[in-house]
């Protein structure tokens, strides 16, 4: 096909769309299956089979990263590469770059899955990949950008259709987010420490997390909507003017709303309020898009009955509208207090992921497949069946998680007349949800089953048809004379890019400033000491096992939180938390004040099998921590890396970290021995206990009386 492009007339490169569409669907099945397994484990913990790489903390990031980078990511590339060529009336810039992009991206996903299963992770949500993979992502992203901007620069249509703007804003912003959030010091082949710690890291991470949802899962799909929806109904978008307005409003507002992920935390009050206000403002541009989409279908509603493509788009827009209303509501502080850390968040993201994203992706897939293989869709009936299974599954999923979230949120906050917690035992609030976890698992599995039908349908379609080369309409070639640099700049891609970038950067900087200012304030009150070599190794095991997927480490500034967990967390307590571990979901209780709460023996037994201390617990057992010896080969490199980041380790520790390590480990071993447990000082469990016992024990003296 490539040489055809040179020899004969120019044709579109639809191989790109075919490949990325396959990747979308196949990785989608993988990602959803892992999700279903994770869901099963919350209802029935032994479903991890006692295998370390199948435990919840390891597979949950595989599920989320697969859905974000593999399912949504590949779908964006498929839709963007297909539509961009047509909107520009130009074949993709370079066949080589397209192939490199495709295979590079798939290799990245495969490497991510393997390394995360092995516990090589940064422990930052949706950015778990370790530094070599992050570098690869950056390189492949640049490859894609060159391909996209090259195509835009050589386009034959003067006007940049609104979809292209959405694509540009998305790919530029994601590049900035990815780089800023993943800046880290490597201390081993697959181990690094973020250059940010504690509050700063949390801020950067949620600036990233929030905007990654915006610019990887929302804006590119709006671009896709503005192309594929008018095509599917064969009518122009309801209001083109509104689409342009909606674009600028969205990208200018979105970036400011990030702090709503950190309400009631150690983040400065005003930054929290700013995040909340901007989140509410966000409703307007979001609904602008939804209304524009729905009105585009005016006069085509009768087609929705037979046409699965349109059904999925209606589903997508409905859930887009719902999720973009729910999101801002959840960022209202009083509601957030109830919903945060509960399954309500899970309901919210799955409304977005299964409704909005899934709806757009499957709608696009059913519309594209017949075009890409020049035939009819194999079975509309099957596609309609897919729609109904998916919708019912989705409703089961979302409604069970809403119920679970509200139930648990209320139970956490419930107090008796005397002002005591009504449900002081956290586990009780978990066990109340188990039936709902089963419902969720069934709903998710139905959604997965629908997706399998889709893959089958598309496979049959592809087999029945033939890929066909479609000629580019070159009649209105605007490139008459060779263009100067100046003229090329005037090609508008550049100004739009720059504008989008600036909007993003400025929003981000204003959020960063407060946290970086904290740096200067903290040391005067701090009692915080660096993690000892033993605690550090324990912490790295905590990150490896992904405990943050079930446990937060952030007692919020609210008296009912304090009633349950103890004094609220202070910013300086996280000073040396390189790669913060605040978490976002409390499937288990908050752990920030767990240090010294229990004796070492309790942790020893609990980690061996949580049901020994907490009957009915759904936390996995971690028997391998009792066999494996701590890998200290990186210890010196770790301490050096942290020293570079400003952690004040004593020279004696730096010179002989192993001695310091053994000294502290021996104390724990002796404590356990006194209780009749024989353990050696090099076991992982010893390091884990040391870390857990250190958590939250270092409040400044002037505040200890609080």
């Amino acid at each position: 096909m490539a040489n055809l492009a040179n020899a004969g007339p120019e044709v579109y490169d639809d191989r790109a769309a075919r490949l990325f569409l396959w990747a979308t669907l196949l990785w989608g099945i993988v990602g959803m299956s892992v999700g279903a397994l994770a869901a099963l484990q919350l209802a029935f913990w032994p479903a991890n089979g006692g295998i370390s790489w199948l435990t919840f903390g390891r597979i949950r990031p595989i599920h989320t990263d697969a859905m974000v980078f593999a399912f949504a990511g590949n779908a964006v590339f498929a839709g963007m590469y297909y539509s961009l060529q047509r909107l520009c009336k130009k074949r993709l810039f370079s066949d080589f770059l397209t192939s490199l992009h495709f295979w590079g991206w798939q290799a990245i996903i495969a490497a991510t899955a393997v390394t995360l299963a092995l516990g090589m992770t940064q422990g930052k949500e949706y950015a778990e990949m370790e530094w070599p993979i992050d570098l690869a992502i950056a390189v492949i992203w640049v490859v894609m950008c060159i391909n996209v901007f090259g195509t835009i620069a050589k386009r034959r249509v003067e006007h940049l259709y609104v979809a292209i703007w959405f694509y540009i804003a998305s790919i530029i912003t994601i590049a900035v987010l990815h780089i800023v959030n993943n800046l880290a010091i490597p201390v081993g082949a697959f181990k690094s420490y973020s250059i940010y710690s504690g509050v700063q890291d949390a801020l950067v991470q949620w600036w990233y997390g929030h905007n990654a949802v915006g610019f990887l899962l929302t804006t590119p799909f709006l671009g896709i909507m503005y192309y594929f929806l008018p095509k599917a109904v064969d009518k122009p978008v309801y209001s083109y003017r509104l689409s342009i307005l909606h674009f600028w409003a969205l990208i200018f507002v979105y970036i400011w709303a990030g702090p709503h992920h950190l309400l009631y935390t150690s983040l400065p009050e005003w930054a929290q309020s700013l995040g909340m206000v901007f989140s509410l403002v966000l409703i307007a541009p979001s609904w602008g898009g939804m209304i524009n989409g729905l009105l585009t279908m005016r006069g085509a509603w009768h087609k929705v009955r037979e046409e699965p493509v349109l059904k999925f788009y209606v589903l997508a827009l409905t859930f887009y509208g719902m999720a973009t209303l729910e999101g801002p509501l959840l960022s209202i502080k009083s509601l957030n207090l109830l919903s945060h850390y509960t399954d309500w968040t899970i309901a919210h993201v799955h409304g977005g992921a299964l409704g909005w994203l899934g709806g757009m992706v499957f709608g696009m897939a059913y519309w594209l497949a017949p075009k890409l293989w020049n035939t009819e869709l194999y079975s509309k009936k099957l596609a309609n069946m897919h729609f109904w299974i998916a919708t019912i599954g989705l409703l089961l999923y979302v409604s069970s998680m809403w119920t679970a979230g509200i139930t648990q949120g209320l139970m956490w906050m419930a107090t008796t007349e005397e002002g005591l917690l009504k449900y002081p035992n956290f586990l009780e609030t978990v066990l109340a949800l188990i039936p709902l976890y089963w419902v969720r698992m069934i709903g998710g599995t139905m959604y997965l089953a629908g997706s399998v039908l889709c893959v089958y349908n598309i496979y049959k379609t592809a087999k029945a048809g033939q890929p066909v080369d479609i000629e580019v309409d070159t009649s209105n070639d605007r490139h008459v004379a060779p263009r100067t640099f100046h003229e090329r700049l005037e090609g508008k891609a550049f100004p739009l890019t720059a504008l989008a970038l600036v909007a993003v950067l400025i929003g981000g900087i204003v959020e960063f400033v407060p946290a970086f200012l904290l740096e200067t304030k903290v040391p005067t009150v701090t009692a915080t000491t660096p993690y000892t070599p033993l605690e550090l190794q324990g912490r790295d095991i905590y990150i490896r096992e992904g405990c943050y997927n079930c446990h937060s480490q952030m007692v919020r500034t609210h008296h009912k939180e304090e009633l349950r967990y103890g004094p609220h967390s202070k910013d300086y307590e996280f000073l040396y938390d390189f790669n913060f571990q605040w978490g976002s979901k409390r499937t288990g209780p908050d752990l920030h004040r767990v240090g010294k709460k229990y004796p070492d023996l309790w942790h020893y037994r609990h980690m061996l099998d949580p049901r020994l201390t907490s009957p009915g617990s759904i936390m996995p057992s971690y028997p391998w921590l009792f066999d494996s010896k701590v890998d200290t080969s990186l210890l010196a490199a770790k301490l050096n890396g942290l020293t570079k980041l400003g952690v004040p380790y004593k020279d004696s520790v730096l010179q002989d970290p192993v001695a310091a390590y053994n000294e502290q480990a021996d104390v724990i071993v002796a404590t356990l021995a006194a209780e009749g447990i024989t353990a050696t000082n090099d076991l992982e469990i010893i390091a884990m206990i040391a870390y857990l016992q250190k958590l939250g024990t270092e409040r400044a003296p002037d505040e200890a009386s609080h």
Binding site: K231, D469, A498, L499, L501
Partner: protein, 50 residues
């Protein structure tokens, strides 16, 4: 602290660049016709289908 200065510096340069490019964009008439482009996308594919 260096990080703030770095970020502010970058954003100033970009801000200036954006201002200039925005004037270019407005001047070159990207927003002049907001009807036709929406319709034109519907006619991109029937050409040369084999």
């Amino acid at each position: 602290m260096i990080v703030i200065f770095m970020l502010i510096g970058i954003s100033f340069i970009l801000g200036a660049g954006a201002l200039v490019s925005f004037i270019w964009a407005a001047k070159s008439g990207q927003f002049d016709d907001l009807e036709r482009p929406a319709e034109e996308i519907l006619f991109d594919d029937f050409f040369g289908r084999s």
